[in-house]
Amino acid sequence: MGLVMDYLALSKNCKKKTDDSFLNYSLAVVGTSSTQLLSCALKGYAYEEGIALNVFDAPYNQLDAQFLDQDSSLYKENPNAILLYISSESLQTEFAALDLDAKKDFANTVMNRLVKYWDAITKNSKAKILQYNFVNINSSIFGSYGISLEYSFEYQISKLNMLLMDNAQNNSGVYVVDLNNQQSLIGRNSFYDDKFYYVAKMPISTKALPYAAKIVIDVIKIFLGKIKKCIILDLDNTLWGGVIGDDGLENIQIGELGIGQAYSDFQRWLKSLKQRGIILAVCSKNEVEIAKLPFEKHPDMVLRLDDFACFVANWDNKAANVISIQKTLNIGMDSIVFIDDNPFERDQVKSAIPELCVPDMPQDAALYVKYLKELNLFETVSFSLEDSKRNDLYRVEAKRLELEKDSVNYDDYLKNLEMEAKCSTFDSFSIPRVSQLTQRSNQFNLRTIRYSVDDIERISKDDNYITRYFNLKDKLGEYGLISVLIMKKENDYLFIDTLLMSCRVLKRGMEEFIFNSIATIAKELGYKKVVGEYIKTEKNAMVENLYTTMGYEDVGNNRFVLDVDNYKSKNTYIKG
């Protein structure tokens, strides 16, 4: 994979036809400077990523009219997201006209204006808000002294960025896009071209436009579910310098001397990714004992064996191993990044598995981290402390698969797991995770209704609804919150509004456990009937026949009815 960072190439993409394989998304761009070329770069970059982006380029410098008037052309467009771009250059012009008192308060003034816009957008539309932060500009009015002086523009811009970060944390629909970082990467003199600003009101040069576009599209990719979850790593010359099998433990390059530092830094970067929820796995052509040796015995290794959810070392071809890792982890192939220093291995794996993300690692290990940072593969729009435990969950899952192989039969395996489930009504701790599951679950999801955190909060307080979430654990560890059930009370029956389950716990008897719970709840509340519905999507074929399997009667129109009195409790090895 390579990055297309040429504005002309991106602008040509805008004229190309998109086909059915493209995902659709609509974005409105609203700014204080001209955004025509930016819009074009956005559309062109989206094309590179398989997104058919419909861009509405609002007339510039009409923010009040566009945001505050609920009948504005912006709201009529009904975009999926709005990119708000208040350029530092336009702010600088505004700042220059102020007296000193107003200058001192400038960051607050602008921040209040932004919050007013955000509130108006939230009130008048469902669009997500993408907010570019502010590129640093030193006015050179005070020289370096200005950076510690409240009256300077540079002070106020830095303060504004800080305020923006704090405010965005408290606004769940606002996503800050780090334009300022792109400027520091390519440099102010490349990022901004004075002449084109005066000639065309363009605060971002044609050279910088692809960078500005990329970081927006990266976030939109996450909105569209194109998330990277896992990195599969080679070992020799990838995680350390040299070949462990030939050079031996003492001679591989790792640690705080010379070339080893680059590999140590790479490992530290990977460890931070693991901490933020990215799953790490190893795929190496090696004897497994030799491959594990540095992790167990080398004092300078940053990563250790328990940092990996999966460790595969053998002499099979790597594509086969990648497929086996993907099956073990049960995640989409398009969510996996494969990192290997050897171009031959990369080509082979890439041609066998085209959906896999295979970065063209630079030859020089000194550039590994720099290159991967530029690709920005691990964009996210959320983080919770639970994410940091994800690697462990998957590691335990891999152990379960081993236990399964060692069991005489599947029933024996299930019995040996000693599973226990807990069923609870929605509470403040579970609401974010419940909402996240309604957003992320595709396969085991009967109606695929997506709920925001606000929606779930509302439902949890509404007496017309019965809410349950399920936690599962076994002797090897916790699975966490793995299933959500929402039922609506109708006149003489309960309607299953939402029923979904994480695919990690398929075929453990959890389905049976949940259906037993549904019947029990109905009985306790005195309902004679429970009605379920199956709404077909591209991904949920696996639950097409779930209701009939569980003893519900097919009454047509994809609806299924349970006669509660006649429900026969299903066998399961899960204890309640």
Binding site: Y7, L8, C40, K195, F196, V199, M202, S205, T206, K207
Partner: protein
């Protein structure tokens, strides 16, 4: 760089920007080339500046009358 060489290089840039061969001479103006609007003008100028490692002034960007004038500036500045 002589005039002929400048034209040869410009011809490549125009072909790249407009996605087709463009007949260039001293008298060529924006209105003679299909697709040469104010936005494409920015892209074109930026490409030419990079290719010849020179900069037009803002006055020139807005006021160059024809290709002949552009070539004069390129020869003078690069």
């Amino acid at each position: 760089m002589n005039r002929e060489e400048v034209y040869a290089k410009l011809s490549e840039i125009f072909e790249d920007v407009f996605d087709k061969k463009v007949e260039l001479n001293e008298e060529t103006q924006a209105k003679d080339v299909d697709g040469w609007d104010s936005l494409t003008h920015i892209t074109l100028i930026a490409r030419i500046e990079d290719a010849f490692d020179m900069k037009f002034t803002m006055h020139e960007v807005l006021n160059m009358k024809n290709l002949g004038e552009m070539v004069d500036i390129i020869i003078r500045e690069s």
